[in-house]
Amino acid sequence: MLSIETFVAISLIKTVIALFVLLTAVAYTVWLERKVVGHMQNRWGPTRVGPFGLLQPLADGVKFMFKEDLIPPHVYKPLYIAAPMLAVVFALTSIAVIPVGNSISIGGIQTSLQITDVNIGLLIILGVTSLGVYGVALAGWSSNSKYSLLGGLRASAQMVSYEIALGLSLVGVLILSGSFSLREIVDAQSGTYLGFIPRWNIFPQFIAFFIYLMAAYAETNRIPFDLPEAETELVAGYHTEYSAMKFAMFFMAEYANMITVACVASLLFLGGWHGPLFGPPLLQALLPLFWFGLRIFGFLFVYIWIRGTLPRFRYDQLMAFGWKFLLPLAIANLVVTAFVVAIRS
């Protein structure tokens, strides 16, 4: 058993590392998006700051920090200020329970590549992301602007609705693996079917994966479900009245949420960090991280790809899709899965 001091120290170190990696990832996801979408639209994207515009995120950060922090009149100030913070806090919190690889031992101390390993990790992620809606909703309401309010209303309704389909799509995986612990879920996916197909949940739970993908896009307010910030109708939706760092916080929250979603998808459906291991021990230790990062990258790329490809839904279409298509499908998938598992055991 570790002493409390070591435990706190290790946790702090892991937190700092995770936050740093996450924020960097967020920044470069933004860069990636601009680059990819630019190329898709037959333009260059950022090129000026650094090679291939690689320093662009840094420049953006500096710009956000030094811009004037406008607080419009007639806003409800306490919540106006608290809303972006809530958004970013909840977005960053869920990273705490996401494992990125097996345990490693450094200096005789065995520790897992995860800030904290709880046996209801998945539930915590769900809970925290479900709280994330407050940031958006409160921002929309406290801005005292009709665009923001509409954006906030849309966001809260949309996120609550799609959360159900999202949760139900995950239950199929949970039934297969029999645990809420993300680590155990990943471990359950090691090995192969028939010797060559990886034992990933995406194969038996293809429908669930599809539902999860759709619901996750809606949860993160991404195209084609970016109704809360639909710039053609609501100016910029819930963050119309925000500027400078507060605006940046919403931005960060959105991308952090994307990464969280990508992580969960990788862990639950794509086998987590499992992949071919080879080479010297150090490489063997780092390869799982690479495989995991690769999956996240792929997932983010799909995000961006879809953004560059699909038009936005109408709001009633969005709700109908969620309630009348995804939810029944998720329930059907759940019933079939439960039935099969019950037959097999």
Binding site: L79, I124, L126, G127, S130, Y134, W141, S156
Partner: protein
């Protein structure tokens, strides 16, 4: 010791949130106070070992029910509460009644129970066991509540749907 500190910390947050709910005049502040109360209650559940209950508390209460409240407050654009003097009875009988009842209950609790202490995670409630209980021992109540929820869904749709006259205009 740590247990007590954590309990007290979250307990204080809890009570503060509850009192804030009463004090605040704007419903959205009250709603957020309630979210805080629920969050800290989830922490108290964790202290008692009821991890699944804690998670469900956050997901269902804080993440869904309270979002609904906030949504309705936003939808109706509810303003600050007016301090109308609508009910003398509530003040003359209600508040003293509430106080007397609370004091009596507190006294009974202090006198007659709870001398024993519970450790951190005194009763772990793993999802598997809870699920077993829910789907075996409490299957009938479970099904009944499912019917209740179905009725509630229908009722909510019927109640909140715009009145017939408004719909016909469209």
């Amino acid at each position: 010791m740590l247990h007590l500190i954590l309990f007290l910390a979250f307990g204080v947050v809890c009570v503060a949130g509850a009192v804030n709910l009463l004090v605040q005049r704007h419903p959205i502040n009250s709603a957020l106070s309630l979210v805080v109360v629920m969050g800290s209650l989830a922490a108290e559940y964790l202290l008692l070992g009821a991890e699944f209950v804690a998670a469900v508390q956050v997901i269902v209460y804080a993440g869904a029910v309270m979002v609904l409240f906030v949504f309705v407050i936003m939808l109706l654009n509810a303003g600050e509460e007016e301090r109308t003097k609508g009910s003398r009875v509530a003040m003359i009988f209600g508040i003293p009644g509430m106080l007397v009842g609370s004091l009596l209950i507190t006294w009974v609790l202090l006198e007659h129970s709870g001398t024993q202490s519970v450790a951190v995670g005194a009763l772990p409630g793993p999802p598997k066991t809870l699920g077993w209980l829910l789907f075996h021992d409490y299957l009938l109540p479970f099904e009944v509540t499912s019917v209740l929820v179905l009725i509630a869904i229908i009722g909510a749709v019927v109640l909140a749907a715009p009145p017939e006259s408004a719909r016909r205009k469209d």
